[in-house]
Symmetry: C2
Amino acid sequence: MEKNWTPVTAAKGVEQALKIFDGKWKLVIMFHLFGGQVLRFSELEKAIPTITQKMLIQQLRQMEVDGVVRRIVHAQAPPKVEYALTDWGQALCPALDALLKWADLRENHDR
Amino acid sequence: MEKNWTPVTAAKGVEQALKIFDGKWKLVIMFHLFGGQVLRFSELEKAIPTITQKMLIQQLRQMEVDGVVRRIVHAQAPPKVEYALTDWGQALCPALDALLKWADLRENHDR
DNA sequence: CTGCATCCACCTTGATACTG
DNA sequence: CAGTATCAAGGTGGATGCAG
């Protein structure tokens, strides 16, 4: 199932992929959730002390809409909401590793 | 040579990698240069009709500083300047492929 | 505890005109 | 041809206060 990538369409494809984990905090959130971690809203808040509530909920919502994060609501008082990565979200990990390895190459040949 | 990634440091590492090809036009430029293409400033301009001169030169400059693009100046009148990817820049291609493949997975299990 | 609304500052991009 | 300078506009994130 090959695709006919032109420079433009390929770039757009990557951009669309990037948009999904773009935003100042999405990567941090994902790395906290990699490996099947399931965390409450307040736990994420504690784990990322410098994030504001607004940003945390905003980024989580977008990630939920995009299908990388699953939202688990427990009907309780007080409210309890947990977040986890979807299978697709977990699947991003190798690609990010590839980026990290690429970044490491820089030192070898640098300028 | 293993590293001890915490969620935060891993995220920062990826972010630094991302910054290098972040910007509205850098990916388009790179995909035009993948495979060892060497293009003049004016050729890039023609290849990307919707970009402005300001943006083209701005993005190229940043990419040059970051070490993904090489600038080749020919001492001539009229001026002739060519741009090509560095080895390190070329090495990004597989990582971008990984991202494209990840994006394709979405359809299989979707939401 | 979880989440929403508002206001504000900054940064990136775009349009345009100009130069060696 | 290759690049610079200036100004305006939109989007993103941060601070804060309020609500179910």
